[in-house]
Amino acid sequence: MSETSSDEARRLAQGARDRVRFEEEALALADQVYRVARGVSRSKEEAEDLMQETYARAFRSWQSYTPGTNLRAWLLRILTNLNIDRGRRAQRTPDSQPLEEGDYFLYNRLEAATGETDEERVLERLSQDHIAEALGAVPHDFRDVLVLVDIADFSYAEAAQILDIPIGTVMSRLHRGRRILKQQLAELSVGA
């Protein structure tokens, strides 16, 4: 009898230790998770809210995390799902606009507008503000993929898993997202 209750106590203590470890590991990843939160949000305030919701949910459902698997991806799956649920997706969608231009078009446009032929000088035409603004103008479905792959360094396969979409969709959204980004940059930088 007393043995069972001490087993029980041991199990409870072990559970508490596992949970604390989980919480510490999750918090240690907060900076990396924040980069994604900021990338998919319109403002810093929105990113901060999203972080708090994500961590509150993660801490509540820590038992559904399988130790040894990718915790960062697990946290980001919560984050991207919450972000979709928040219905903050009302926005203009340049989806129907044709994007027939090739991948060189931004460079060609900048080179033509500046008369520069040196790559570094052409690059200087892009300000950090324009890039942040252009990124903000990419529709969310595309931006989520762009942020996960280009900013958070996930592979196509990992991004597919986090967003729960097929890998082919990751690739097409990435492709389209980058095109839209460049189109926005062209408009902002040279009014093209």
Binding site: L27, E48, Q52, Y107, E119, I151
Partner: protein, 77 residues
């Protein structure tokens, strides 16, 4: 005559090349072309630099106050 223009082909494979998703043969083909074509080489370099700028644009450290709030969300023991 049916031979595809190498610059056009390089433009098409720019993204998968930078994502390291091309197979070895195609990757070698790109490298071979870039070594000889300054026009394409410049555009590849630009794309790489652009990605770096995008990455930098998104890096904005988290406020310490937020970090504190997150740790306060931990469950009570």
């Amino acid at each position: 005559m049916s031979e595809i223009d190498p610059c056009e082909w390089c433009e098409e494979v720019l993204q998968p090349y930078l994502d390291r998703e091309l197979d070895e043969a195609d990757e070698a083909k790109v490298k071979h072309h870039l070594a000889a074509c300054g026009w394409c080489e410049k555009r590849y370099k630009f794309e790489e630099d652009l990605r770096r700028l995008v990455r930098r644009a998104a890096v904005e450290p988290m406020e310490p106050a937020l970090k504190l709030k997150l740790s306060e969300l931990r469950l009570e023991l």
